[in-house]
Symmetry: C2
Subunit: 131 residues, 2 copies
């Protein structure tokens, strides 16, 4: 647990974010694992991109629980066969719930990261420089 490492925090943030972003991409139309990743790379400028070890299990779970449906795509643009996922009505519902959960939380996150009183930090600095 290295709290000085940005990657530690990014990983934790991704736990809450990745599934929302996957649903968002799928809400725009059917897509496959690799494609979703490339899309997230593009729309988040590389900021919120899960690894293969995250995305494929998610897609599998989503399908297992009926949030997505999968079809095998034999038109090979790349090489290996693609598995294209389509959001089901249940998946659309899930996306809406996720959206609402995030929307209701964002104001407090914003407050926490933008409206921070620096009183204690200033005191810390003062104490450190006076040593």
């Amino acid at each position: 647990m290295d709290l000085i490492d940005t990657n530690y925090w990014k990983s934790l943030i991704n736990i809450g974010l990745t599934k929302l972003l996957v649903l968002k991409v799928l809400s725009k139309g059917p897509n496959h694992g690799y494609g979703i990743l490339k899309e997230l790379e593009s729309i988040t400028s590389g900021c919120c991109v899960p690894t293969f070890g995250s995305i494929y299990p998610i897609l599998k779970d989503l399908t297992k629980h009926g949030y997505t449906e999968v079809t095998e795509d034999k038109q090979l643009k790349g090489a290996q066969k693609r598995r294209v996922y389509t959001l089901t009505p249940l998946g659309v519902e899930a996306y809406k719930v996720a959206l609402e959960a995030w929307r209701s939380t964002i104001p407090y996150i914003y407050k926490a990261i933008e409206n921070n009183e620096l009183v204690f930090l200033e005191d810390m600095k003062t104490r450190l420089s006076s040593k």
Copy 2:
């Protein structure tokens, strides 16, 4: 994994958020577990409040790794002895890293939840109502 349950999403969001909020509260001054919880209840209107099962292990870990220091408080306002935690300079650093990680991510979350194209969702609705 019930994606239709708001609590599922809230739990995932909390994984990334709780430690940041704990550091935020401590950045305003020393505090104890129960106090931090009450403070979070207050400043987030009950929106982002971790459970006891989350907060006490966090405080223990934070201290174990040198991000906080603990002192036993014998002045009993409640009942049991309090353990008051103070952010160390390393803890202040950690808070800054967390702040930066969230600040760099927020724009993309905002984009994901506010600027969503509803094309596919509308299509979904149309297909459902025409059945």
